[in-house]
């Protein structure tokens, strides 16, 4: 991997190590074994006769399994060893490591093999912010087992380390005295089990020591996941590769919170975000709908079950509000952070209704729409009753938790993301433009659900009227006259926060844009100030705060672009959508099919390759979902009643593209397309269903 770190994961348990398989974490360093937002192992170092090992190669067998091939000795260019060391590691509820040493010599060898172990039990928030611990540590040495513990009042976490072969256990690790015959081998299983304290009892680990694999079922699960997804055939090998990578990464990012009853939804990203995020889970579920619709069902039910029911300033919770982020670590437990869960986001709530409708349009699952009617109504009510902080018919946000709450409660959540053209930052509350688009879409889609499924014509009429009124006001209040685009936000005086940004693409997606204005907006999105050649920049070149490597002020986000492309298609801009799809998919080739969270906004001809944003998470769910949504966009897939419309518009370098067995209310349908689009000459489309 590009950062020299090897990552494997299962749900919200993951291991990040160096290329030797060793872990030597400092407080600020994100390596280790993590589970439920806590580091359960910060030191895990293998030596043979006191020597560190040298990596020959790393095999990423699956996302949950890695094999390290090692030889003794470090720092030399030339390796001539009579020993080979293989560490095969699989993550489950903790991890299982099979350590094998091969003796290639004609004589026997006597070795001292040692595994150093230690743990700081850091909360992920502490790792991010470099904070000090408040509890106390413990160590328990038993015959074949080392238990590392951390306790703070009733909060307890333990790591239990054991081996299948005889070992001398001390407080800092396990030592094996080994004799290996000529051309023989020695092997031991090592198990690292995480234990979450619930008062006096501990939750039992899901696997016991001695099993060959931590979770033999994970292999089967991945096979089934890939088999259930549509098959992609294309002349473009890169596209086939990116598609496969996306499906495998999406499988890895699935996460089963206890509340979801064994079903899974997408977590946000590795390593920091293996947890439930309202916004990320919804966007990723939308992207994956034509490929893995079950993710959306779990997202709808889980976020619905956690929907806010009360007013709580610390958590920025309101009745009807969809959560932003849920965490399980020590700082959340002791309310040093508000993530139990935290509700401070302004877009997940309208997007929840958008997802519910889009899900039904694809799957025909009316049962779920009826089951979550109450939650959808509460979400629609939140828009009018709780989000309209200025009482003028728009969604506004301002945190009530002034210490640890989020200032910017839209997807561009960094401190400087919302600015005027001259770089000034507006005060609070703020009404960013895309939120109004989402609210419009939620009302339009909510009206459909109310009329067709909940059988409430009054509500449907009211929502339709509100949507029409919102659209009319929005196109008047946010339209930058002379600029030909929509302002990023309104400030408290009703003035336009007038920077040109990628948010305009989300407005197309929402449908709030007047047809007469769409052409100008599309022109900006593909124009030189926003379009880098790879994709649309978050903020346009020439704006006061533009910076090609600024997190939300100039970088290109694959997720953002996938929704922009969808928006362009919605308004009939097929070629423009294909240009964005083509640029982002080209970029994916530079990352072996795994798109990062963001990359630099430099002009494509300047750098020739996309420059990854320095601390971006990877894999990240909505980046993983981006190629999927771009495929949908390029093929022009759109449910219409019980049919799937296929209207391809593909760039010529893709050649032939077939997506087979697309699941939905129609059963399974195949979509075919051929890349004929060159220099603005779209042609050719056909479809076949069976």
């Amino acid at each position: 991997m590009s950062d020299g770190l090897v990552k494997i994961l299962d749900g919200n348990t993951f291991v990040v190590s160096d290329e030797r398989g060793d872990i030597e974490a400092s407080l600020t360093d994100p390596t280790g074994l993590f589970s439920f937002d806590t580091r359960f192992l910060s030191r895990w170092v293998l030596t043979v006769d006191g020597q560190r090992l040298n990596p020959l190669s790393v095999d990423d067998l699956q996302y949950f399994e890695t094999r390290f091939f090692l030889v003794p000795g470090t720092g030399t260019v030339y390796v001539d060893s009579k020993l080979s060391v293989i560490r095969q590691r699989a993550v489950g509820d903790g991890f299982h490591e099979e350590l094998t040493i091969l003796n290639h010599d004609e004589g026997p060898v006597n070795l001292t093999v040692r595994v150093e172990a230690g743990c700081d039990f850091a909360d992920l928030f502490e790792v991010k912010d470099a904070l000090k611990k408040k509890g106390s540590y413990s160590t328990k040495v038993e015959k074949k087992r080392l238990t590392l513990g951390y306790h703070r009042k009733t909060f307890g976490r333990e790591t239990v380390i054991s081996a299948s072969e005889p070992a001398k256990v001390d407080a800092n690790g396990l030592t094996f005295t080994v004799r290996i015959k000529p051309h023989g081998e020695w092997t031991t299983d090592l198990d690292v089990v995480t234990a979450v304290g619930a008062g006096r009892r501990y939750v039992r680990p899901k696997y016991e020591r001695g099993e060959k694999r931590a979770r033999p079922s994970m292999d089967v699960d991945l096979d089934r996941w890939l088999r259930d997804a549509p098959k992609l055939e294309s002349d473009s090998e890169q596209l086939r590769h990116t598609y496969h990578r996306s499906l495998v990464d999406l499988a890895a990012l699935r996460f089963s919170p206890p509340i979801a009853g064994g079903k899974s939804l997408p977590a946000a990203g590795l390593p920091w975000f293996m947890t439930m995020f309202g916004r990320d889970s919804i966007f990723t579920s939308l992207q994956a709908l034509p490929f893995a619709p079950k993710l959306a069902a779990t997202t709808i039910s889980t976020l619905g079950d956690w929907q806010g029911t009360r007013s709580d300033d610390f958590r920025d919770e309101d009745p009807g509000r969809i959560l932003h982020e849920l965490r399980y670590g020590e700082m959340t437990a002791f309310e040093e952070r508000p993530h139990s869960p935290y509700y401070g986001c302004a877009d997940a709530t309208p997007l929840y209704v958008v997802l519910l409708d889009e899900y039904e349009r694809w799957t025909g699952d009316r049962h779920l729409v009826r089951e979550y009617e109450q939650e959808a109504r509460a979400a629609l009510n939140w828009i009018d009753e709780y989000a309209d902080l200025m009482s003028n018919g728009y969604i506004w946000y301002e945190r009530r938790n002034e210490k640890t709450g989020l200032e910017n409660q839209c997807w561009k959540d960094s401190w400087d993301s919302i600015s005027y053209r001259d770089g000034r930052l507006p005060g609070f509350p703020r009404a960013t433009c895309e939120l109004q688009g989402y609210a419009y879409d939620a009302k339009v889609r909510g009206a459909r659900l109310a009329r067709d499924i909940w059988k409430d014509d009054d509500l449907a009429d009211r929502l339709e009227q509100q949507a029409a009124d919102l659209k009319r006001r929005f196109n008047r209040d946010y339209w930058v006259e002379g600029g030909g685009y929509f302002a990023l936000a309104l400030d408290t005086e009703g003035k336009q926060v007038d920077a040109l940004s990628s948010n305009n693409g989300h407005l197309l997606w929402s449908g709030i844009v007047d047809k007469s204005k769409a052409k100008a907006v599309a022109g900006h999105l593909l124009g030189p100030r926003l379009f880098s050649g790879w994709g649309v920049r978050t903020l346009a070149e020439g704006e006061g705060r533009y910076n090609p490597i600024g997190y939300h002020v100039g970088t290109v986000w694959p997720f953002d672009n996938s929704f922009i492309a969808w928006g362009l298609r919605r308004y009939g801009f097929k070629e423009e959508a294909a240009r964005i799809a083509s640029g982002i998919l080209d970029a994916a080739a530079f990352f072996e099919g795994r798109l990062p969270e963001a990359f630099g906004g430099y002009d494509r001809p300047v750098t020739k390759y996309p420059v990854q944003y320095p601390t971006a998470c990877s894999p990240q769910a909505w980046s993983t979902g981006a190629p999927l949504l771009l495929l949908r966009t390029m093929l022009g897939l759109e449910p219409h009643g019980d049919h799937l419309i296929v209207d391809p518009a593909l760039p010529s370098d893709i050649g032939r593209l077939e997506l087979l067995d697309i699941p939905g209310r129609w059963g399974r349908i195949d979509a075919f397309g051929r890349g004929l689009m060159e220099l603005g000459k779209p042609k050719g489309s056909r479809r076949r269903s069976r």
Partner: protein, 114 residues
């Protein structure tokens, strides 16, 4: 001052039906420890219909906590989920019921309103 826990459960019992629990079915028992005494509440939920009693019975979910802590949860002075993460509240059994039930606890007393 009236007993906060008792108020909470009595109020719940009077409601008879709770829309927030319409997707929930099962029994939740609260074992609340008060010094040497232990106080029990059994809540039977059937698609939102609620029956509250002091019956001794096995349940799909057993919540164990300090009585004083639960008094604070019942009045919104303590967050149930954070207390669960701290290990101050223990939940055994069908965890999903815990997540559904926690929606009924009130928010913290408001300092300001909008």
């Amino acid at each position: 001052m009236a007993d906060a826990t008792e108020n909470f459960f009595e109020e719940l019992s009077h409601r008879g039906h709770e829309p927030l629990l319409e997707k929930a079915t099962g029994t939740v028992r609260f074992d609340l420890v008060n010094g040497k005494r232990s106080e029990r509440w059994l809540v039977e939920i059937e698609k939102g219909d609620i029956a509250v009693s002091r019956k001794q019975a096995s349940a799909d979910l057993v919540i164990r906590s300090d009585k004083a802590l639960f008094d604070r949860v019942a009045t919104g002075r303590e967050n149930a989920f954070a207390a669960l993460l701290r290990g101050e509240v223990d939940a055994e059994g069908k965890v999903q019921l815990m997540m559904q039930f926690q929606r009924l606890f009130p928010g913290p007393p408001r300092r300001r309103s909008r």
